[in-house]
Amino acid sequence: MVMTEKRERHVLITGFGGQGIVMAGDILGKAATLYDHKHATMTQNYGPEARGGACSSQVIISGEEILFPCVEEPEILICMSQEAYMKNVKSLRPEGTLIWDTDLVHTRKADMHHKTFHIPATRFAEQLGTKMMANIVMLGFLSAVEHLVHAEALKKAVLDSVPAATKDNNIHAFNTGREYGTSIIKGLVKPEPGKHQD
């Protein structure tokens, strides 16, 4: 239903190395290409650090061939660290959607004119056993609050991308995020208050 458009949809996922930022972008791209049969590019931006350095993945999904693979003004910006938020929020399109990890980002009130969502993805993941799945929680959440790819496609792409032994856990994480998102969208849950800087 949401997939007929030809225009390019630009998503920027940002955070620290080690949070699975690139993997999240990859899964999103896979979902779009392999299961939704659209075009997608995912490029990454990262520093020399294995952990803790600024890191982002840029995903473009489109009905047509994508040439320039950079996301300069995302319509969806996902922030999983304060640094990433500070650096990237300015680039978000005015009508764009801002999504962040409730615990890791203190937003500025000034940025709240965007469509905004947040989820304590890292906390949820920790509760599910490991912080490492925060990215999957976030993807589940994304699938609920924004229609980029089919949720089923995304779920399949998750299964494709994680080690066999962790498939169940990851689907669980995905569902956790998705359910939380759905509840919020449906107004079933009032989101926790976000933390503001100012």
Binding site: G25, H39, T41, C70
Partner: protein, 374 residues
């Protein structure tokens, strides 16, 4: 699949069964994929102690009759140069993939650059010709790796894939054809007896059939200047004969080797020339220019070496201006300038690395050029 992984799959599809390499960002994933995939296919992966050893090892493996490859980025590519020269001089088929990052020196290891294109042509000492291919997508990484092996087996030399960090790390869909849909070229084998075999005596097309180690031909292979038998021949005549062959087998087959992807050349007034990731920005810019009513055209250099001299000479005569888009301080633009030969002005859109060229920069240059302001 990202470009690095596509490169690995392309190599396997081409029949590569030996990989020796040394990790380096942003090419490491090629080696890592190979280390996983080769054992499954009966091949061998070895991580050598450095890039010099890796390059030497693939030459050895190629003489052992196995299609071989290594991958690296700038710093490792510099180290491979001496043995790339050995591969050229001994006419050893193999493939070297350089996923370019921003240099010079250690530079920006995790960011894009296209600063090694001249190095790919001239990086080893002495005079020679080379073949180098530039992919613009993971799909092309796959396809061109196969082509690289085919060219390498046919023309008997190390063929270079000059990818870049963005292509290497970019994830896009890659379609892997069925095995029988893939054209594979294997080295030509000698058809004569051991007594009559002259390992460096070329057939009419300039290519000498190649006996592998163990085929019973008792070959001798040396990086010294050598005669038809492969024996050292320490004089200017032998040098002339040998290097002519090395050079001519490429020069005389330029038409077969060179591939460009031409867009709107029929009526283009401003022609952009580009390659690798920059060619995607260029294509975007050219399309936008067309939308703006400017007669722009694009030549994407899929084969970057040899350079398509004739094509450029021809289009330069008809063009108002030509523009090179590349991520370096101006390298292929020198070739463009040379071949445009004053027939039309030539300009450069570039940066020194670390970021893709924005299509708008190219578009601006196109607009200016269209207005004659170059």
């Amino acid at each position: 699949m990202n470009g690095d992984e596509a490169c690995c799959e392309g190599a396997l599809a081409a029949g590569c069964r030996f990989f020796a390499g040394y990790p380096i960002t942003p090419a490491t994933e090629i080696a890592e994929s190979m280390s996983r995939r080769l054992p499954q296919l009966g091949g061998i992966f070895i991580q050598m102690e450095d890039e010099i050893a890796s390059m030497a090892a693939i030459l050895g493996a190629s003489w052992g009759g196995v299609k071989s490859m290594t991958s690296t980025s700038g710093p490792g590519f510099s180290l491979m140069m001496e043995n790339i020269g050995l591969g050229i001089c001994t006419e050893t088929p193999c493939v070297v993939c350089n996923v370019q990052r921003a240099g010079p020196s250690t530079g920006l290891p995790t960011s894009v650059g296209q600063g090694d294109v001249m190095q790919a042509r001239w990086g080893s000492h002495g005079h020679y010709e080379i073949i180098a291919l530039c992919p613009t997508s993971p799909q092309q990484m796959f396809d061109m790796t196969i082509r690289a092996f085919n060219l390498s087996e046919y023309y008997r030399l190390p063929v270079i894939i000059l990818a870049d960090e963005v292509i290497g790390h970019m994830n896009e869909r890659v379609i892997i054809p069925r095995e029988d849909e893939i054209e594979i070229i294997n080295r030509r084998k000698p058809s004569v007896s051991r007594e009559d075999y002259l390992p460096y005596k070329a057939d009419a097309d300039g290519i000498a059939p190649m006996a592998n180690c163990g085929d019973g031909y008792r070959i001798h292979v040396t990086g010294l200047t050598h005669d038809d038998r492969g024996y050292p021949a320490m004089n200017a005549e032998a040098q002339e004969q040998m290097v002519s062959r090395l050079v001519d087998k490429i020069r005389n087959n330029r038409d077969k080797i060179i591939r460009t992807n031409n867009l709107y050349l029929d009526d283009a007034e401003v022609i952009v020339v580009s390659y690798g990731i920059s060619a995607r920005s260029a294509m975007q810019a050219v399309r936008n220019a067309r939308n703006d009513g400017i007669k722009a055209g694009l030549i994407t250099l899929e084969t970057i070496w040899p350079f398509p001299e004739e094509l450029i000479r021809n289009v330069a005569r008809r063009a108002k201006a030509m523009i090179m888009a590349e991520i370096n301080g101006g390298q292929m633009v020198l070739e463009l300038e040379r071949c445009a030969c004053g027939a039309c002005p030539v300009s450069l859109v570039s940066n020194f690395g670390g970021a893709i060229i924005h299509p708008n920069l190219i578009l601006n240059a196109i607009s200016k050029a269209a207005k004659g302001k170059i």
